[in-house]
Amino acid sequence: MATGFFTDATLCIGCKACEVACKQWNELPSDGFEFTGNSYDNTSQLSGTTWRHVDFVERESIDENGITASWSMLSDVCKHCTNAGCLEACPTGAIVRNEFGSVFVQPDICNGCGYCVVSCPFGVIDLIEAVGNGDDAGKYALATLHEDRLNDRKTALQATGGVAGKCTLCYDRQRIGMVPACAKACPTESIQFGEIEELRERAKRRVETLLERGVDARLYGADDVGGGIGSLNAFFLLADSPEAYNLPVEPVLPSTRQAMGYAAAAAAALALATLGWAIFRGDGTDA
């Protein structure tokens, strides 16, 4: 049974309880504080150590009714793609699909090569750069962890070099029948967790209701997003175009470009080998 998230922008109030719950449950360190000036969003992005990120979209329009301003918030997360770029790119087999259909990074196998980072069309997965001492913003601060957990984490991060990190869809919680931390903490049910098919049906009904009420609403990732990626196990209901939430309109699965690349390289190699043969052995004195 595949499980996933349905995250609804029309219900999000921007409380960031999901961000906090995720950090707390998964023992993720702070990425450091940076005052961005971008609305109430000082988290800015998903990272190796930030697995939920609330977008704050401020919209203003001026017409005959005067100035109207509106908000739209959305809690972004790893999409757990049907065909995942990170999973395909991983050379060690550290990234796997688990029994819940989620894309999961096994930290003890990841060797920190960073190829998954550039292979995610949604810019989700990132390296947890290095082990810091608590003062280094953005680094995995071992010193802030409880003694009991210190050795576990040291092993997981292999002490140096870092590993890739992203949402596990709370694999550990799911294994014991619990709901992921973010969905549990969400006070408005903007984040819903459940069986994918059921979530999709619920989402489609929700869009119909919203459209009847005259609200701009569309689903993102409930069906095939194109580019070879397929549908997303964590999909969204948006109240604006995908760009407004920093989501790609036309994402593409990177591995779809490989065949062409190998063919181009082979053609160049063949051309050079032919020229080389003529230059080195073209005088008819072949031994």
Binding site: V118, E243, A264
Partner: protein, 306 residues
């Protein structure tokens, strides 16, 4: 244009000079495989010397590339994690296996030369059959090409837009750099007779390379701006396009057309070869650096190259 506060949509590569060096040497190893094949089994003494030089050097490079990759990964054991599985969908996985197999073939060929030189017992020659020569060349072509596929089969818009061009000019750059390195080695060996041929191969590779790079710029449009404009673009133009292709091509053409005094000719070919090698390194470095810039621009990431 709509965006989320112009925040980057994608994450850029965490790759520095060690990965650039790894890709650069991978290209050279590919080119050396070709030269080793071209100079194989020829009666001329200068070809025999070239053959030996390329085979020993290819093996030496195959031996130093894993430590360079390890310096990126942090600890030696982490390299072994790459050898847990073979994954055809991952150029990183295939590339590491390509490197391992290439090392085997290059080692066998180096062993043949050692046996030929009498450093090791002659009978060891039979351990390494002659088939390892074309095998090394084929694996070499893969080594030079996969480094291009590795970066173009990613989500980074600049790299993705170069899905045909980047692998093709990576192969050319690898061949040109390998010819240049072989030229320097031949100069050291005093094997001057073989240099004109190496320089002609280098010119052929450089001509194809510059044509492909120019075509990439023409067809790529706005997505290619990080590579061809700004700080990275200036460096690429100065060190690769002009310094690494045009100038060495001209120097090699002069060497081919006129009979220069021996000492001046040696200086000319050393200069051309050195510039080509620098250009090859800067090409890889510029691709990585421009990839970082490309990842930071959300506007080219909303609609990703097919």
């Amino acid at each position: 244009m709509k965006s989320y506060y112009d925040r980057p949509l994608l994450k850029g590569p965490h790759w520095g000079s060690n990965v650039v060096t790894y890709l650069f040497l991978g290209g050279i190893m590919g080119g050396l495989g070709l030269i080793s094949l071209l100079s194989d089994d020829r009666p001329e003494p200068e070809m025999k010397k070239l053959r030996k030089a390329t085979r020993y050097t290819a093996f030496a490079l195959a031996a130093i590339n894993p430590p360079i990759l390890i310096s990126h990964l942090g600890r030696p054991e982490r390299f072994l994690n790459m050898l847990r599985i073979v994954k055809f969908k991952s150029p990183m996985s295939l590339g590491v296996w390509g490197l391992v197999l290439y090392s085997g073939a290059a080692g066998a060929n180096a062993l043949r030369e050692l046996a030929d030189d009498g450093v090791v017992p002659r009978m060891l020659k039979f351990v390494a059959p002659s088939a390892t020569v074309p095998i090394q060349a084929l694996l070499g072509a893969f080594m030079a090409g996969y480094t291009g596929v590795l970066i173009s089969a990613t989500a980074i818009p600049l790299w993705a837009a170069g899905k045909r061009h980047i692998p093709a000019f990576s192969v050319c750059s690898g061949a040109a750099s390998a010819s240049a390195l072989a030229t320097l080695l031949s100069t050291l060996q005093g094997n001057h007779d073989v240099i004109p041929r190496l320089e002609r191969l280098e010119m052929a590779a450089a001509a194809l390379e510059i044509a492909l790079v120019a075509d990439f710029r023409k067809r790529g449009g706005a997505v290619t701006a990080p590579l061809f404009e700004g700080r990275v673009g200036k460096r690429l133009r100065d060190f690769t396009i002009i310094g690494g292709i045009v100038v060495p091509f001209a120097l090699n053409a002069i060497g081919g057309a006129f009979k220069l005094p021996k000492s001046i000719d040696a200086l000319r070919s050393i200069a051309a070869a050195t510039l080509t090698l620098v250009g090859g390194y800067v090409l890889r470095e510029s691709l990585i650096e421009a990839g970082k810039l490309s990842a930071n621009d959300p506007h080219v990431a909303f609609r990703q190259p097919s």
